[in-house]
Symmetry: C2
Subunit: 133 residues, 2 copies
């Protein structure tokens, strides 16, 4: 495996990290993701880590870096799908993922990014009602 796929979903780019990231793979992901943000004009990035058993300091730093890079490109990053054991380990390691927002799962992450109205459904309150008028 040489690349982590970056999927587009409207204004959001979705990355599902499933394998342990080598240096090379992490750099390739940062490169791909920043390029895709610029190419697509994406406003949000969702990184799903539900496939990861372990988030060590390297992955933690990478997540923080991606969040920072996306931010200067005007895209907000949210990390979703963290397993309970990963949360425990992170805190025990003293890692708090500075600058990284989290949500429980993909759907909540998209809601949090406030793309909920266009991405998840019509029943999301006032915005949808406004369109109908």
């Amino acid at each position: 495996m040489d690349r982590v796929p970056v999927l587009r979903l409207g204004d959001v780019l979705l990355v599902s990290v499933q394998v342990d990231l080598s240096d090379q793979l992490a750099l390739a992901l940062q490169d791909d993701l920043t390029n895709r943000i610029v190419d697509t004009g994406a406003r949000g990035v969702v990184i799903d880590i539900s496939g990861l058993d372990i988030v060590d300091s390297f992955v933690g730093r990478m997540l923080s870096s991606i969040a920072a890079m996306s931010k200067v490109l005007d895209a907000e990053t949210i990390v979703v799908g963290m397993r309970p054991a990963v949360a425990i380990t992170l805190v025990e390691l003293g890692l708090s993922l500075p600058g990284v927002r989290t949500a429980l799962n993909l759907e909540q992450g998209l809601h949090r990014l406030r793309f909920s109205r266009t991405l998840v459904g019509p029943d999301d309150g006032p915005a949808g009602a406004g369109d109908a008028r």
Copy 2:
């Protein structure tokens, strides 16, 4: 890696296959996916294979199996993100992915599943227009 994550997105389950699937991993994926369809009442399954360099007969059979299993559970399966080289190899191998629908990418796959109105946005043409009348 012991599992391929299954992400939920409204009525659709999303699977991003990024690593070569062993027998065990493929069986675990079928198991997870069918359970998630039943648990969530999902109506569609999108399998992204943009991370795969090679789709051999084993993976082809697995995709067909998943599509067939989903179908009997009343969920439609669509495979997205196939690389051009993969398409060439598939045809050269005489594999036509029977029973598997495809779309170019995740967005088009979601549109194809006719969840486009609720998932991707309000500007999706006839379906939305019909509702407005």
